[in-house]
């Protein structure tokens, strides 16, 4: 098979790219790239993939299942339909990918298709002139633009220009709970923040952790702050930070929100040893579906993995979900949500014209076709394509999909995750301080002071 030589060549180019990074990347152990062969073994693709690098585009994406399967099959569909312009996929683990893609772009070795979350990271690519401006392409292909949720374009737009193709799914953060645990203590799911604080001692008394949390990953803790900020003061508090207003973190409501989360930590609201748990290993989800924790605040994407990994936890109707409850006296609209308004693929400006053409064909074709909609619905997530709800009826996850769809449609504000919205520099300081905040090693005021120092950076 000729495709074997191609994948080896690509592997070599990956290795040579890796050399200057040295030990640093070797450290991301167990996260080595996994090649998914172009053409998926179909005979018609081999002739072109053997033809040389210029005719084939490269695409890096995340390896978490079941999303990885959908991405791989999407690429395979594209390759079958376009034997003369195939895409070669490589997968990476979530946290390792964030570093790898940045280094590859800086070294001028970026893949043709740069997968990401938009926002602040995309802005840094744009400022470095590393990604293509797609505004005119979207103007010419109005049909593509009209197919997608308008809210998904926010994080793809930098200074009025579109630099990425929104794709895949809407992922609001959802409050999951285990109905069995609530039966055990004979309580109802929380209606307010006050209810949450009241539930904590009840669960602890029964030996069930109130909340599961993969605290070592840090962004998992951040989701709590995102909601507390929003419910207390609305999206305006963080917007002020995002807009670079001086001392924006000193807002009394921000300080109050930071204090509320520490209150929950002090009350043993999170599972014991949460700082030792990572989200990458899905151990936080395992705590919920094995009945060790009663609730979990997590992204919509975990529904899919809990259905796959959790035995009959999801299929048996034990999983409950709701939007984050309001806080008494809070100004924020309880319909608001936070999370990922979509995923984003940019085109590297270093790619050859042929590769760019392949990428655009992929955008208009397999990436958002009806099969993609069906596949994403199949993973238990809502695609960002309009009218996707028509596919829900046939899905076993109908209720969850409708719930997410309604959140997305009704939310007055669908805020992007903070670490994605901010610049990488500010995001790193943010995650660092969040971890210390949950560790109770800094006070809310110290948090605000540390964060004010990097506003606008």
């Amino acid at each position: 098979m000729e495709s074997r030589t191609t994948s080896r060549r690509n592997f070599l180019s990956l290795v040579s790219m890796g050399v200057p990074l040295g030990a640093a990347l070797a450290a991301c152990g167990g996260t080595g790239p996994t090649q998914t062969g172009a053409g998926g073994g179909s005979g018609n693709a081999t002739a072109s993939t053997g033809g040389g690098g210029g005719k084939s585009a490269t695409y890096w994406y995340l390896s978490t299942q079941p999303q990885e399967g959908v991405r791989t099959r999407t690429v395979e569909r594209h390759n079958k339909a376009n034997p003369n312009g195939t895409i070669q996929g490589t997968t990476f683990q979530n946290d390792a990918y964030k570093t790898k893609i940045k280094t590859a772009i800086g070294a001028g070795q970026a893949p043709t298709l740069i997968w990401g979350w938009g926002g602040g990271t995309l802005r840094s690519y744009v400022q470095a002139g590393q990604v293509e401006d797609l505004t005119s392409w979207f103007d010419q292909n109005q049909a593509v633009k009209d197919k997608l949720f308008p809210s998904s374009f926010g994080a793809a737009t930098i200074d009025g220009k579109i630099y990425a193709m929104p794709c895949e799914t809407l992922q609001p953060i959802v409050l999951y709970y285990d109905k069995r645990a609530f039966d055990k203590i004979g309580a109802q799911p929380p209606q307010t923040w006050g209810d949450i604080l009241d539930l904590v001692p009840k669960f602890n008394a029964k030996g069930i952790a109130p909340f599961s949390l993969g605290g070592q990953s840090r962004w998992t803790n951040m989701m709590w702050l995102e909601f507390l900020f929003d419910r207390l003061g609305g999206p305006e508090i963080f917007q002020a930070v995002f807009d670079g207003e001086k001392d924006a973190w000193n807002n009394p409501l921000a300080i109050q929100a930071l204090g509320e989360v520490q209150k929950l930590v002090k009350a043993n609201g999170f599972v014991k040893g949460f700082s030792s748990i990572t989200a990458d290993s899905n151990a936080d989800q395992a705590l919920l579906y094995t009945g060790k924790a009663a609730m979990m605040l997590h992204g919509g994407w975990t529904y899919g993995s809990m259905s796959t990994d959790g035995g009959d936890f999801v299929s048996g109707g034990n999983l409950g979900y709701m939007n984050f409850p309001p806080i008494d006296g809070g100004k924020g609209d309880p319909g608001n949500t936070v999370g990922n308004p979509g995923q984003y693929i940019s085109i590297s400006s270093k790619a050859t014209p042929e590769q760019k053409e392949i990428a655009k064909k992929f955008f208009a074709g397999a990436l958002i076709d009806q099969t993609a909609v069906k596949e994403w619905v199949g993973t238990g997530a809502v695609p960002i394509i309009k009218g996707a709800d028509a596919e829900f009826a046939a899905s076993k996850d109908k209720d969850f999909l409708t719930f997410v769809y309604n959140i997305a449609v009704n939310a007055k504000s669908f805020a992007q995750s903070w670490d994605q919205a901010l610049s990488p520099t500010a995001a790193e300081v943010l995650l660092d301080n969040i971890s210390k905040l949950f560790q109770l090693s800094i006070s809310p005021q110290e948090f605000a002071t540390n964060m004010n120092a990097v506003i606008g950076k």
């Binding site: 040893g273 060790k292 090693s441």
Partner: protein, 303 residues
Amino acid sequence: MSAVTTTARPASRAGRGGSLGWMTVPALVFFLGFAVIPLIGVLALSFAQWDGLGEIGVAGFANWGAILSDPGLPHALWITFLVMAVSWAVQTPASILMGAFLAGHQRYRAVLSVVFFIPLLLSSAALAITYKALLDPNFGLGAGLGIPLLVQDWLGDPVLAFGVVIFVVSWQYIPFHSLIYQGGVRQIPRSMYEAAELDGAGRVRRFFSITLPQLKYTIITSSTLMVVGSLTLFDLIFVLTAGGPGDATRVLALDMYKRGFQANLMGPASVIAVILVLVGLALSLLLRRLGGRDSGHSQLEGA
């Protein structure tokens, strides 16, 4: 090198010197290419402003000022020093004892020395992932075996997390240093022990009066490797704790990586890299000074 330039020397000597000089070329090229040139690059970057993506701009001394006044630097230095000191204090006695034990020629000791060597064969990243899984408070070893003592917030409590790092590092590197000590002990002339035995010295006395003093240079070699090695310790800590909880295990190397590759601040990261190089050089010089001054002095007097 000198042989090539000094033509006055006899031809035969020049020829010999020339061939020896030539042999250093591959090593020199590698050293230049992979150590000196990147080092100059890092030094230059420490005066530059670069996010790893775009154009490189000039920053002057701004990076140095920012890093040297950052409270994170003394903290990272302190953690690095602690890792160095504690892991040295744990590893050295254990390695000497194991090395002396394995130096015996009995067959079971030969078998044991192969078994002890295994941790060194494993990659640090794989080790870290394994330990992380074993130490998981909910699904790890303690929970699985039902031993409450093992169910701790191993990686979430600053003191415990630091202890875990030291433990795993020691677990991995003690076999290596034992090997060095094993070689060292085997080089001690048997006649010394025989003489001591005749004088009525027991096992313990022989260990402290002969083995330990004779191992002086081995200890210095092994300590240099340990100290400089713990300075660049990165992969294991990165995978195990990622520097956390908070910044409890954030050593200098990790601080550098986080600033450079996660926060996109290549300039300040390069400043830390330069500091790392300087500290490493100073330490290995110091250790050489400690033991190397009288290296001409014989340790085998009376043997």
